[in-house]
């Protein structure tokens, strides 16, 4: 199913310091209300491990799965995997049944109650088309977020 070029968002955890900029940049770019969070940075810890207090920052967003459960689950066939690997929702076809939300093992599909559609990270494909990076990537203060092409 997967095409040759497979894009996905990757976080370099060495440099991410949990500033939330990517999350709010995403909100602004997509005009999202409170509720849908297409990208999240989750904190693990602080926890004492081998005597040392540690805290890590992990990326939680769509993994653009090779064989996405959401695509299978959608009764309206509104979700598709594109050539470039991006898993995309056709908002016109979405009937807000939320079956895909439950189907995703990563919690990446997010209901937008204002628009009555489900939304997800599509790597700002509208920006990629213009030669720009996704909003989260371009706003990251330390270049810890990158779009990788596998």
């Amino acid at each position: 199913m997967a095409g040759k070029k497979q894009l996905k968002l990757v976080l370099d955890e060495i440099w991410c310091y949990g500033c939330y900029t990517c999350e709010i940049a995403c909100k602004q770019e997509h005009g999202l209300p409170a509720g849908p969070r297409l990208i999240r940075i989750e904190r693990e810890g602080p926890k004492r491990i081998n005597g040392r207090l540690q805290m890590e920052f992990k990326l939680a967003t769509c993994r653009q799965c090779p064989e996405p459960d959401c695509v299978e689950a959608c009764p309206e066939h509104a979700i598709a995997k594109r050539e470039d690997g991006i898993v995309s929702i056709d908002a016109g076809k979405c009937n807000y049944c939320l079956i895909c939300v439950d189907a995703c093992p990563y919690g990446a599909l997010q209901p937008n109650p204002d628009k009555q559609v489900v939304q997800k990270c599509e790597l700002c494909s509208h920006r990629l088309a213009e030669g720009l990076q996704p909003a989260c990537v371009s706003h990251c203060p330390i270049d810890a977020l990158v779009v990788e092409s596998e």
């Binding site: 440099w15 500033c19 900029t21 999350e23 709010i24 602080p46 207090l53 330390i142």
Partner: protein, 711 residues
């Protein structure tokens, strides 16, 4: 791209003190997007989370958009929309009545941080014209001003604040009681750039593990409010191991021998016991900071919100002083502006209030307030509240509140009692906060996108123009315009320096030989960056040298050498009290979303941090029978009530230490429900003992007890 927006305006953010370059995108006279300006040297295109959320505030239907006057009782929540003419006339008339009846110093304004730096100078001009000598800065005794005092006494300038560290060129960064990720986001980026580009080592000293603590090479989880002991212990190691810069110390400091003698009282074993830190970590921190050069040091709220804050920061300031890290590339750099530029401090100093030395507590805290102030000259805030309540030393009957005093100040009940006692409470804030609810008249301000002014940057040598992006929304107005209007309507003489806004901007730049219009055209002006400026001019202290032993403190009868002193109520200083209140409480750790009390109304931010979380180590929580996620009551020995926050298990704090966020209220609720339940200042106190130099009350390193609030 161009078609998507009608206009693109470069301006400066005012979401916190950073003053980053912003690009605002305008479509149909609406700001549709903001981004960091990649050409701006300070932030290089970065804009933080709260900065990006400004459009939510700009267009929030809940924003106060029109002048209003109170109907019914104070705090009842009934308002009548009125015209600016009516609002300003009411304010002017009542202020004149109050001045006539109680004297000019019965009138003041409370400045805050959310947005109101823009009118500090014109408000001061108004106060001067009124004849008042009361400057009410609600956190003047424990935020920034004490650092100015301690740094000015020792180093001649506040360069261990966020403006001094030259992070990007540094090889070693020491962050002490401050987390720039939350408080100064662009500086956090600089720190991470130093790690990434220079391999800089990072040392973090904090009772609470935070984002940069997680990135630190060495994290010292200190017992709250024992930083004075740790700094003296580190000085002991650096001096006794001869790791200091002998040439600099000989040539440019006074009091080294006395300091050397003093720090002998703080051997590392004693310091380890006081601070709960391992001996080897203290030694390692001292050696790293003293030997990896250049090193940049920053200290902030964690060492200020306590008793003994001046001596603590004096001890910390001795570290860059004796290690040769002053005014060198990658160290702590002294600020200077393009010649002729009038900084905020210079402007406030020029526009002197009458009888400064007779101001509230000027005799008690001369370095805080009065003609000898080494800060921005605020009156002692608890004493202002007490003056409202008691009429002593003189009555204060009218306050223009530009911040949220109800949640920002200690002892909420007392503050509310004081505000209700006033004859006139005027309010200017973006939202109907618990403080605005108590007002008689509301004068709604505009945001930074709706106004213009001169600013300076963290960079030591830059000034820049904030450009107006759109006209003020609805009937919001620039605060400086209000100041001039009220002066006129009170029949006061307009300031000789500037008679209106245009003249105000030009006045700041006049001695530079340029106009504000020209600065707006240029955007930014800077001087070439220089180091070791002291070689020409010495340091800005009485001796012209770094004063390890302070001549001013000696003259005023204070200890001229830094020393350690416990907060008044800790398990060490008050062990019997600690049996009933066994936990150590720190309050008010900042979050990147909330600039002190601001932004709590913004949906993008609030959904991620919807309520204050009482942070507690899981072992301690279990010991007191508290479950993760349940509501708990917090009580302190001096609190007048109890407040409620949700328990969050975390190892960010040591067992026995808890953290309760400050400035919280629920904007969706009204009255007491909004501000008592979440607000930690319901259980803090505004009474003595105060720090003898700054007048600070401790809000970090208190005693408390916690118990379940679930039935």
């Amino acid at each position: 791209m161009a078609a998507r927006y009608d206009r693109v305006v470069k301006t400066l953010c005012a979401g916190c003190h950073c003053t980053c370059g912003v690009i605002a995108y305008v479509k149909d006279e609406k700001v549709v997007k903001v981004e960091g300006d990649p050409d701006f040297p300070q932030n290089e295109g970065f804009m933080c989370a709260k900065g990006l959320a400004i459009t939510q505030m700009l267009y929030d239907p809940n924003r106060i958009l029109y002048p209003m006057k109170r109907k019914g009782e104070r705090g009842e929540g009934k308002w009548e929309r009125i015209s600016w003419d009516e609002a300003l006339d009411i304010v002017a008339e009542r202020l004149l009545e109050i001045r006539e009846k109680y004297g000019p110093s019965s009138i003041t304004w409370s400045w805050g941080d959310a947005a109101y730096h823009c009118s500090k100078v014109t408000k001061q001009a108004w106060l001067r014209a009124v004849g008042s000598n009361v400057r009410f800065h609600s956190d003047g005794h424990y935020c920034y001003h004490p650092m100015m005092i301690a740094n000015n006494l020792t180093l001649g300038s506040a360069i261990t604040s966020e403006v001094g560290p030259d992070y990007r060129n540094s090889k070693c960064i020491l962050l002490w009681g401050g987390n720039p990720v939350a408080s100064h986001p662009t500086r956090a980026r600089d720190i991470m750039l130093a790690k990434k580009n220079n391999g800089a080592k990072l040392i973090v000293i904090d009772p609470r593990m935070h984002e940069l603590g997680a990135k630190a090479d060495l994290f010292l989880q200190i017992r709250p409010a024992t930083d004075d002991a740790l700094a003296l212990g580190m000085l002991n190691i650096i001096i006794n191991e001869e790791l200091y810069d002998k040439e600099f110390v000989d040539k440019w400091t006074i009091g080294f021998d006395e300091l050397k003698q003093r720090v002998q009282e703080y051997p590392v074993e004693r310091v380890a016991e006081i601070t709960w830190l391992p001996v080897e970590d203290i030694i390692k921190a001292a050696r790293m900071y003293a030997t990896i050069k250049p090193a940049a040091l920053h200290n902030r709220l964690g060492v200020q919100l306590r008793y003994n804050n001046i001596q603590t920061m004096r001890a910390i300031a001795c570290l860059p002083a004796i290690t040769g890290n002053l005014d060198v590339k990658g160290g702590n750099v002294y600020h200077y502006y393009p010649p002729g530029f009038k900084s905020l401090g210079m402007l406030l100093n020029e526009i002197k209030l009458p009888d400064e030395d007779q101001g509230i507590d000027a005799q008690q805290y001369p370095l805080l307030t009065g003609s000898r102030s080494l800060a921005l000259n605020p009156c002692h805030p608890p004493s202002v509240i007490h003056a409202i309540l008691t009429g002593k030393p003189y009555p204060i009957r009218a306050v223009w509140a530009l911040n949220n005093l109800v949640v920002a100040m200690e002892d909420t009940i007392e503050v509310i009692e004081a505000l209700k006692k006033l004859d006139l409470l005027i309010g200017s804030d973006y939202y109907m906060t618990p403080t605005m609810e108590l007002c008689d008249v509301l004068l709604p301000p505009c945001t930074y996108l709706e106004r213009e002014e001169v600013e300076h940057l963290f960079y030591p040598n830059y000034i820049a123009a904030r450009r107006k992006v759109i006209e003020p929304i609805a009937e919001t107005r620039n605060e400086r315009w209000m100041d001039f209007e009220i002066m006129k309507r009170m029949g006061l003489e307009l300031p000789k320096e500037f008679k209106n806004e245009e003249e105000y901007h030009d006045y700041i730049l006049k001695d530079m030989g340029i106009t504000f219009a020209e600065l707006k055209e240029k955007g930014i002006i800077h001087e070439p960056l220089t180091y070791r400026k002291y070689e020409q001019k010495g340091f800005n202290t009485p001796s012209g040298k770094i004063e390890l032993k302070s001549s001013i403190l000696e003259e005023l009868g204070h200890d001229p050498l830094p020393h350690y002193k416990e907060n008044p109520e800790t398990p060490v200083s008050a062990p019997i009290l600690a049996e009933a209140y066994p936990l150590i409480l720190i309050t008010g750790v900042r979050h990147v979303f909330y600039f002190n009390g601001a932004n709590i109304q913004l949906p993008w931010l609030r959904e991620i941090v919807p309520e204050p979380l009482l942070e507690i180590h899981p072992d301690t929580a279990r010991q007191y029978g508290l479950k993760d996620g349940e509501m708990s009551w917090i009580e302190t020995p001096r609190g007048k009530g109890r407040t409620k926050q949700r328990v969050k298990y975390t190892e960010a704090l040591a067992p026995g230490v808890v953290h309760a966020p400050s400035h919280w209220f629920y904007p969706e609720k009204r009255g007491e429900e909004a501000y008592l339940e979440a607000n930690i200042n319901y259980v803090t106190c505004n009474d003595p003992p105060y720090d003898p130099i700054s007048g600070a009350v401790p809000v970090r390193g208190l005693l408390c007890r916690i118990y379940s609030a679930e039935e």
